[in-house]
């Protein structure tokens, strides 16, 4: 049997566009002699559809779309698609998350997702009732162990704490499945492919079954899917692998168990490519903008954001503006100018002094007798924000925000100032990784696209004379290590102190600082998620709250 893996990039809510794409891929698979073409989880709606799932009109349209797809694809190919379907019992959540197999215009089988991720960015139990134990589906003489995404992830032997009591893929094997078929919308995080590879290979070996996994690709707002679809033979070795971060149609003949497909991944390359896709998809899927706009400070964050935007959209659709104040170093403007010339983008310079002066005059009376400080620094950042948004509004530019994860963690950013924008490009990338990205951009270009001076100079917000980031923050190597252990690995301060040897007071201070700055992040634009724990919808921290770590808190089961 020939099975096609259709790794497509659906757009959330674009039922017509997604259906057209599904039909197109099915026709291409058919032309290549496939018996069965497999699409990702919820490919009909795009993932995550969120509360669109609560609209009856939307679900009506989804049902119509599934029927339309089933009718339009060639009659002699099986097509496995993912869609929400109604729960016709009068108990439980109103929908199931289903894998629907159609053949000859008719529904051949329906498999309901059993394990519903409800953690991090996932809210599936908000919408879906868990399915009952599934039986394998016989299709052209082969018993397919069809299941949906999370259904395969409860299988790891070494997990200490299992989120679910059931293991659907064990049950499928016990019921006689001859081949696993997983349809997924499994988000990207740097390094995730290693985990995915391991769990699939182990599942194969455990039951001596081959495994087809089709994952969605593309970005929908903040969530990025890498694709990374694959086939593993019964011995666990990979025999087909789709490229990451692009659509693909791969064909596997079940008779082929000999091909080998080695893993080729590099964390910085993945980080780069995922962000580029994230920018491109935000821009093209909204379809609302003429160009992308970036405020260039001469610093590393805006330079990297700009270089990635140029890769995503082309230099003709990227505009850079530098907005110097009296505290900007001459080098900052020169570095921005050089960057813009290197990238071949439209570039202009608007001094913010007139508006900053005007605000100072307007506030003279109110501020009388006070010492200049944060308020005055923020006026500069906000004047830049207003200017950039004026250009955005006037010319329909998508303003890209350039703040990195280290800054967003500790609140080293101005709300309604440099945080302005439609999409935060680097808000899930620590400062130390921004440097890695910069080096990679230059290395891949074979020249210093990002000026060496931008990379080498000490980071500064340039909001007061001779300001340096290290005036307020530890060196980024130290800060990022603390932050990563806290945010991604969810370690507590005692563990972090034990692992790093850093001073307990420093660690406690920065963990509390992260918590306290949630109010800024709540109003931040959506940011591309490239780690296993990003700020935003996957990390829900109360704003009004008084939890604060102290040295004398009790230890019972800490970490």
């Amino acid at each position: 049997m020939r099975i096609a893996l259709a790794q497509i990039n659906p757009t959330v809510g674009d039922l017509d566009g997604n259906a057209a794409k599904i039909i197109d891929y099915a026709e291409r698979a058919h032309a290549q002699g496939a018996d069965l073409v497999v699409f990702p989880e919820l490919c009909v709606t795009g993932y995550p559809p969120l509360d669109l799932l609560e609209s009856e009109a939307f679900i009506d349209a989804v049902e119509a779309s599934c029927s339309h797809i089933a009718e339009k694809v060639p009659g002699d190919i099986g097509i496995l698609i993912g869609a929400p379907i109604r729960n016709n019992n009068k108990v439980g959540k109103r929908l199931f998350n289903a894998a629907l197999l159609y053949e000859g215009g008719a529904l051949h089988s329906e498999t309901r997702k059993q394990l519903l991720p409800t953690y991090d960015v996932f809210d599936e139990y908000r919408y879906f009732e868990p399915g009952d134990c599934s039986e394998p589906v016989e299709f052209r003489g082969l018993k397919l162990g069809i299941h949906v995404c999370e259904d395969m992830w409860n299988n790891e032997e070494q997990v200490e704490f299992h989120l679910y009591g059931d293991n659907p893929i064990d049950a499928l094997a016990a019921a006689g499945a001859e081949l696993y078929v997983n349809i997924s919308a499994s988000p990207f995080a740097v390094g995730k492919h290693v985990h995915r590879n391991k769990i699939v290979a182990e599942s194969c070996r455990e039951h001596n079954l081959p495994f087809v996994l089709v994952n969605t690709v593309g970005a929908n707002t903040e969530i990025i899917f890498d694709g990374d679809s694959r086939v593993h033979a019964a011995d666990g070795s990979r025999i087909v692998c789709a490229p990451s971060f692009e659509e693909a149609l791969m064909i596997w003949d079940t008779a082929d168990t000999a091909t080998r497909c080695p893993m080729q991944h590099d964390d910085v390359v993945d980080l780069h490519d995922s962000i580029v896709m994230g920018i491109r998809d935000y821009f093209s899927k909204t379809g609302a903008f003429s160009k992308a706009l970036i405020g260039l400070s001469g610093g590393i964050d805006s330079a990297v954001t700009c270089a990635l935007a140029v890769t995503a959209l082309g230099p003709e659709r990227v505009v850079g503006v530098t907005l110097p104040s009296k505290y900007s170093s001459g080098g900052s403007v020169d570095d921005s100018d050089l960057l813009a010339r290197n990238l071949g983008i439209d570039f202009s310079r608007i001094s913010i002094e007139p508006a900053v002066d005007a605000f100072e005059t307007m506030l003279e009376q109110s501020f009388e007798g006070t010492t200049p400080g944060i308020a005055e620094e923020n006026i500069q950042a906000r004047t830049r924000g207003v200017t950039l948004m004026a250009l955005s509004n006037k010319f329909n530019y998508l303003l890209l925000t350039t703040g990195n994860k280290s800054e967003m963690s500790v609140g080293y950013a101005t709300l309604y100032g440099d945080m302005n924008g439609g999409l935060a490009v680097l808000s899930d990338v620590y400062k130390t990784d921004v440097y890695r990205l910069a080096e990679f951009v230059n290395q891949r270009a074979g020249r210093e696209l990002i000026p060496r001076n931008t990379i080498d100079k000490p980071p500064s917000a340039e909001l007061r004379p001779d300001q340096k980031d290290t005036d307020s923050l530890p060196p980024y190597e130290v800060l990022d290590r603390i932050l990563k252990l806290y945010i991604e690995d969810q370690k507590e301060w005692r563990t972090i102190v034990n692992m790093t040897g850093y001073d307990a007071d420093v660690v406690i201070r920065f963990l509390n600082l992260v918590d306290r700055n949630e109010y800024k992040r709540r109003q931040a634009p959506p940011g591309l998620r490239v780690s296993k724990k990003a700020f935003g919808i996957g990390r829900r921290v109360p704003i009004v709250m008084r939890w604060k770590r102290t040295k004398d808190q009790p230890v019972i089961q800490n970490d």
Copy 2:
């Protein structure tokens, strides 16, 4: 037996403060001869603790706090508190949401919540494993049917679609419970008390059992709890009722089945009191601000916001600033001035012209040849936003945002402009209800605190000459009716057209407009939730998405 209902206002994460409050109330209940004092759901942590629940250090501290409370309360009173407890099985979510009964310093019983709300603002399945079927707990000879919040809400006979298969309170009655005891963190919405009353009364009558319900009170960020704790006799009649929107300790002697406690609620009064409590709690629980700051436009929204802030915080902690431009009518400044004098607050005037002019000069070259429009209007709103934030930063003022739900629905607001602020006071109140609040404020004051001219003049953003809201929007009576049916009642356009007789094109246009403006709301400050469906964490709509209603979409099961 004497049972005390301790309707307290905990702060999220304030383990020490909440414990002190619990101990204080237990002592007061003891002094009044109570055998048992009942506290709300998750009163140890405050509700909702959100992802604090994922921190092992936090759960350690919660355990220590529970032990501390059990030790400190008088030995001869039972104390029923709500707290997260660890799931010591190695399967499932890591916590249970529990009701813990302590007596004499020892744990008497532990009851786990069975039904975990995971919809709207609730994410309980993100954190908690559902508890198994509970047995009644015998305490001083009485079999208590202890259960937690949602466990009582699956009981309504007339609900067509049951979210859960189980009905814990039926099971408790069948197992011999003699008295229901429900501990809740059940959020307020206008009219919610009617629903609560009905379901409790019906549950009583169904099993001929009395019912004690203790609900939390207070606001934590956007979520408001009204309290409304009560005791119903076995025949369903209310015999004890706590006040709404304030802490209370009520004592009920189980021998008393004769007292009657009629319902006294008015929607506008509840709306008013809930918002006042929301402002007060945001201010006092963050403890971060010296005063509240409001930009006064002379319009109804800022006037009502200001009046409510004065009621919440006192005139000495409220500051009003009017920020006129050349498009502001003279009346606007006069109305603001009069309002400030009526309320007795500090008031100043800062013309935004200097900064607006400066931005126009700065952008002259970039904007050359374009027609003035939204970009220029937004510069005015954003100049006001920067000025207000400068005052906020300089003097530690909490900037209150004044936009109403009608505007937030359709995006009639400027991001980084009038949307700036720490708390959105009216973002869940439709414009027509803002007028009702204004009339109520004046009526209660016995004089026109809010100037009559502010109430009577046609609403305008005053961002261009002679602008009126009705230039872009239908009359608010029409718009609000459409919005309410769509947002709160989750009706689709066909149903709305059938119910209202409005033109289908208009209804479709505004429903799509609500969806399209999600990107603005994502960056809005948290807003006080006073309806059953507010924008924010309870309404999760994708930003990048292409779902759009059209007249020719299929109908299968629409509404």
